[in-house]
Amino acid sequence: MDVNQQMGQMPNMPMGQMPNMPMGQMPNMPMGQMPNMPMGQMPHRQLPLLNEPMLPNQAEVSLLECKDLTKCYVSGRPALDHFNLNIEAGHIVGLLGPNGSGKTTLIKLLNGLLTPTGGEILIRGQKPGIASRAIVSYLPERTYLEAESTVEKLVGFFADFYADFDRERANAMLTALAIDPKSQLKSLSKGTKEKVQLILVMARQAQLYVLDEPIAGVDPAARDFIIRTILANYNPNATILICTHLITDIEQILDDFVFIKNGRLVAQAPVSRVRENFGITLDRYFREVFAYV
């Protein structure tokens, strides 16, 4: 992933201003580049589904591979239905789809929090387990740390259990944000708690980062911080899988996207293909695609 190259597509523009630019400021922009225009004001057009799966790196085992992955709960349709996906190292990937499409189920399977009903999921060629958990850094959607713990103790906890945890990096990020390491998690605001969680997750030198809704429920300034933190700690040999509904906020940092609906892979391609082929943003493409699929 060439972060600078992607960031360079938006010269001199602060990160937070891009997605929410008023319509009037983009008078000559084609329809697809107006991400915040209400759907009702624009006619839908059926765009072709992009499908350019990542090519497996012959030199090493795939970072993440799903083969016919199926997960059925006790009742209802399968949450994942013969899902196939290949993700290689060195990408920032957006895992996108409407509510109930199977994103969270996929993430839980990846982290070993659920077991597949059929097929398999492999991380560096191994099923989710102790070895995979040592190389996957996971940020759940929820506040999952003990509220009574202090930030300092949580840093110690992560340093104790994850061999790839960089304590200095974590402390540097905490200092940059003026978060007192001695403060209890329960005494912090929601946004600060989210930042602490992100710092702990991103301070690891993991091979795969799985971030489930990392910018949901926080103000735009906090979103900018989170995106900056993700970029600043990005290791080009690692992969970041981001699951979110706030596409406009993150599409500037994405290399690739994966669209998922009803437990099936709908589309997968580099984000640049969307711009090249249709001249629209990923957010626009998402809206167009899911209006028909």
Binding site: N111, L113, R133
Partner: protein, 279 residues
Amino acid sequence: MFSKLFKYEWKKTYLPCTLICLLFVVLTGIGCFSVLVGNYEKLLAEDKTGLASIFMTLYFMAYFFVGMTMMVVIPYFFFYRYYKNLYTDQGYLMHTLPVSKKSLLWTKLLVAVIWQVITPIVLFGCMILFVMCATMELPEMLGIDWGEFSREFGEAFGEIGITLSESGVKYIPAIIAGILSFLIMPFQRYLFFYVAIGIGQLFKKYKLVMSFIILYLMNLAMNFIGRILSLPLIIAGNREPEALTINIIFVVGFLLLAGLTVGEYFLNVYFLEKKVNLE
């Protein structure tokens, strides 16, 4: 990793348990001091305001309450901690640590069992101490010769010892089975709790409430099965059983308990590995 997990589990639980135990020790100390040093009988007799009797009532209420807390609340503290740590949002952290699910179970089980052993030792140790302090005064109050009292006390224990040593050989299997049962019982108790939690968390809502309901139902079922299985013991007891019968009963009892414990262990491992139902 196991030792790190154990260390964290211990650090997270020792404080409330230690405080409750210390409180009971302090209350016992106050009680012993009042009995041995303070002239409380005179104080009670001369007290016209009723304050001394109120104080004494409050003291015994506190003593009873703390004792009950030790025996009842501490096990439920570990019950709740297991649920919260592994089956609520905190599970997202615990289940994604690079450790095995068996390690998660064992560390929680061992810490809970250690406190399950410490708590009655402190509780009964303190109560025995209190009674001893009280009985040092009692013989005098009742006009009993303390020397004769302790001699008779010793002789009684001596007789029990002689009886045991004479007939003990016959009951060796029963004694060994009894000791082993006593040792694994705390493990069985907590694994039993954890099975209830494992089933309760499978529900979509009210997981903790469901866990308690399941625990209650499981207790009912176990009591029922226990009574059926203890029928031979009752019948044997009525017929003045032979050593062989007693031995068989104890050994079979131990084997059933061990089987139940192993079954509960694997059921919990199964829940942790395959059936975690985080929201």
